[in-house]
């Protein structure tokens, strides 16, 4: 099997196909500390892309509660039960990826959810890690925790879905690295469903073919961010491109946050697919759990995040989240503002570090009403 270098693992790994990296790689930064699981992203995606017959239980975008939630049910822990926990030596993965245990006559290591596993997308919602004793009182730090994990297709560098498809009906676009299932060619074998560690390919019972998140490619081709990104009311998401053929650019917000500062981390990098949704880990969650999810960079990322107020370049890049419907490919911190430019040079974002505060009188003379403070 050919070897490919996986920068997230710090080593080469087996992958059934050789291919140069795309011209650039679509990527996202999701700040888990800001997500409130309002599911606006889920609804925006579903309304647009998966509201047809046969797509009832298909969510290209979902938000689940960790540690107990998961859509489809136990999507991640069932694979972890097969692979065992990841082990790292420094920043190099020691344990095998999903491509390195099954040989060349079987698809990557995976599991196939049953139909019922898709039927309860909110199982585990808001569940915390333990119960609260009667009479307990808050005294500084909660011993229990949970957090929300927003998930879409990772448009992986080394997609397991693509590797598993016996018909080569799945392809990775050279122009932006978006991974698509050829809807004319797929014959519904569901090998991709079985192989994707993130369970982000789905079987459509009306099409009798598999489907997945298309990365809102018709919008990306117009320079617009994905619908899940645009609709995010918490502004937790930043959509852009990673540099793939050359050194990371400090003025590219995605390069800066992901590659240069390593504030945002890939989800389950140990599976070896090179996922491209990068998560800022939740600072209140124990590292033991987070390091299985996000790899060895968790503590460094948490420390960096806690000091964001003093890190204007990094904070500036993050302030671009939700600041524009256009994809920002270049940014610069200027004075008390961060500016973002689209690929064509248009200035599409100008965000102040400190939002101006307006204090209004308690009594509104124009409308003859009293204002209530609702915050």
């Amino acid at each position: 099997m050919p070897k490919r270098y996986n920068w997230q693992l710090g080593r080469e790994m087996d992958y059934p196909f050789e291919a140069p990296p795309p011209a650039r790689q679509v990527a996202y930064v999701f700040d888990t500390n800001k997500c409130i699981e309002c599911q606006t992203c889920t609804v925006a995606c579903k309304t647009c892309w998966t509201s047809g017959k046969g797509q009832e239980i298909i969510f290209w975008n979902n938000v689940e509660t960790k540690p107990y939630g998961g859509y489809p049910l136990e999507w991640d822990t069932r694979l972890l039960a097969k692979t065992g926990p990841a082990a790292w030596k420094g920043t190099t993965l020691v344990t095998p990826t999903v491509f390195e245990t099954e040989g060349d006559k079987q698809p990557p290591n995976g599991h196939r959810p049953a139909v019922d596993d898709y039927s309860s997308p909110n199982v585990g919602e808001d569940d915390i890690t333990g119960t609260i004793e009667m009479g307990a009182a808050f005294s500084g730090v909660h011993p229990m925790w949970m957090f929300y994990l927003a998930r879409i297709c990772n448009h992986c560098d080394h997609p397991a879905c693509l590797a598993a498809c016996p018909r080569q009906a799945i392809y990775k676009r050279d122009e932006d690295g978006i991974v698509l299932i050829d809807q004319e060619r797929c014959r519904g074998y569901q090998e991709c469903v079985r192989a994707c560690p993130y369970k982000k390919t789905f079987f459509n019972v009306i099409s009798r073919a598999s489907e997945k998140c298309i990365g809102c490619f018709p919008r990306v081709e117009q320079g617009q961010v994905a619908l899940c990104v645009e609709s995010c009311i918490g502004k937790i998401r930043l959509h852009g491109f990673l540099t793939t053929r050359g050194e990371p650019r400090p003025d590219n917000p995605l390069d800066y946050i992901v590659k240069i500062r390593k504030l945002a981390l890939p989800l389950y990098p140990q599976h070896g697919t090179g996922p491209n949704v990068y998560y800022i880990p939740p600072v209140h969650v124990p590292n033991g759990f987070l390091e299985q999810l996000f790899g060895p960079g968790v503590e460094a990322a948490k420390t960096m995040y806690r000091k964001l107020a003093d890190d204007r370049q990094l904070l500036g890049a993050l302030l671009l989240s939700g600041a524009s419907q256009r994809i920002i490919t270049r940014f610069e911190v200027k004075g008390d503002e961060v500016l973002g430019w689209a690929e064509n040079g248009d200035e599409v974002a100008r965000v102040p570090f400190t939002e101006p505060v307006y204090i209004r009188k308690h009594y509104d003379e124009v409308h003859n009403v009293y204002r209530h403070n609702t915050t």
Binding site: E56, A114, Y118, Q183, E184, R187, E191, S207
Partner: protein
């Protein structure tokens, strides 16, 4: 272009590949009488033809080639359960796990299938039977249907592994799901999940829970049928036949024919599937395998047990079985 069945004048002698074909064929004694009756031949010509048929049959038997007799059109059974099949010659095709290409079949559940065939000089009907304790006729996430296929080399040199770059194969593929589509109606979400509910399908007509395709005739309502809109043959919501014709030039190359003249029917009864594949000997399609009266050819068999997760390359299949069509 080379052809799948060899013309009689080219194929009268023994061939090495014929030696590996399993089983000897028996011929219907009534065939000769029926041919004579159909053609209204005089006694002398009838005797001549009968002798020719008998010569071919004996040679086929000597060569270990499955002989496909010719009967009058009305006597060719399209129904796979037609009693006439009981007196048609049969051959047992040994099946094994597909282990050549990713993904392999890990566990075999079918060891052989029975193949029978009858022709009328213009059409040939293949009858395939194999044991399956329970019929699996629908698909869903993690759920697969039973299926079977016959393959024929378009070129005589095609390997049984779905042909290769220079030697395509012609495939007739039947699926239990498609049979259910044709016998009942297009298998819809409510057929899989009777108690399911969805509030709204944009631009659909009629009452909930809505049925495909009748309530989705508005082109706007088909926007979410991406594979159907892309022309994917597996996504045909207007399917009228349970058999699809395809071409292949090796693993992963399977491609549907836009036009198909083949048909068939599958029936599950008493622990076995019985299928008929019906197709003309000759077509104008260069992608099709062609047959001649008195010609020889090879056929490959594949079977999928949907209940055991068989799908795509996870299948049972056999090597080529040599056959000869009656003159």
């Amino acid at each position: 272009m080379s052809t799948a069945t060899t013309r009689p004048e080219q194929g009268s002698g023994p061939r090495p590949w014929a030696l590996v074909a399993g089983g000897a064929a028996a011929v219907l004694l009534v065939a000769f009488a029926l041919i004579v009756a159909e053609r209204g031949l005089d006694r002398g010509a009838g005797r001549e033809l009968a002798e020719l048929v008998e010569r071919h049959r004996l040679q086929a038997e000597t060569d270990g080639v499955f002989f496909v007799p010719r009967v009058e059109r009305a006597a060719v059974p399209v129904d796979p359960l037609d009693p006439a099949w009981e007196s048609a010659p049969s051959i047992i095709v040994k099946l094994s796990r597909q282990v050549d290409a990713m993904p392999i079949l890990e566990r075999a559940t079918v060891s052989s299938a029975e193949l029978r065939a009858l022709g009328d000089g213009e059409w040939v009907v293949w009858r395939l039977s194999w044991p399956d304790e329970s019929p699996d006729m629908n698909v869903d996430s993690g759920r697969f249907c039973d299926a079977a296929a016959l393959q024929f080399p378009v070129s005589g040199e095609a390997p049984h592994t779905m042909g290769d770059d220079r030697n395509p194969v012609h495939i007739l593929h039947w699926k239990a799901l498609w049979q259910k589509d044709v016998d009942e109606h297009f298998q819809d979400v409510q057929d899989l999940h009777p108690n399911y509910w969805a509030d709204l399908y944009w631009f659909a007509d009629g009452p909930a829970p809505y049925r495909v395709p009748d309530d989705f005739s508005d082109p706007r309502s088909q926007q979410w049928f991406a594979a159907f809109s892309a022309g994917n043959p597996v996504s045909d919501i207007y399917r009228t036949r349970p058999v699809e014709e395809l071409s292949a030039t090796g693993f992963g190359s399977l491609t549907s024919h836009r036009e198909s003249v083949s048909d068939g029917r599958g029936v599950w009864r008493d622990g076995s599937w019985h299928l008929s594949f019906v197709r003309p000997l000759r077509t104008e399609d260069p992608l099709d395998a062609q047959f001649w009266r008195g010609g020889r050819g090879t056929v490959g068999v594949a079977v999928w047990n949907g209940g055991d997760g068989n799908v795509g390359a996870r299948k049972h299949w056999g090597f080529w079985t040599a056959f000869e069509l009656s003159p």
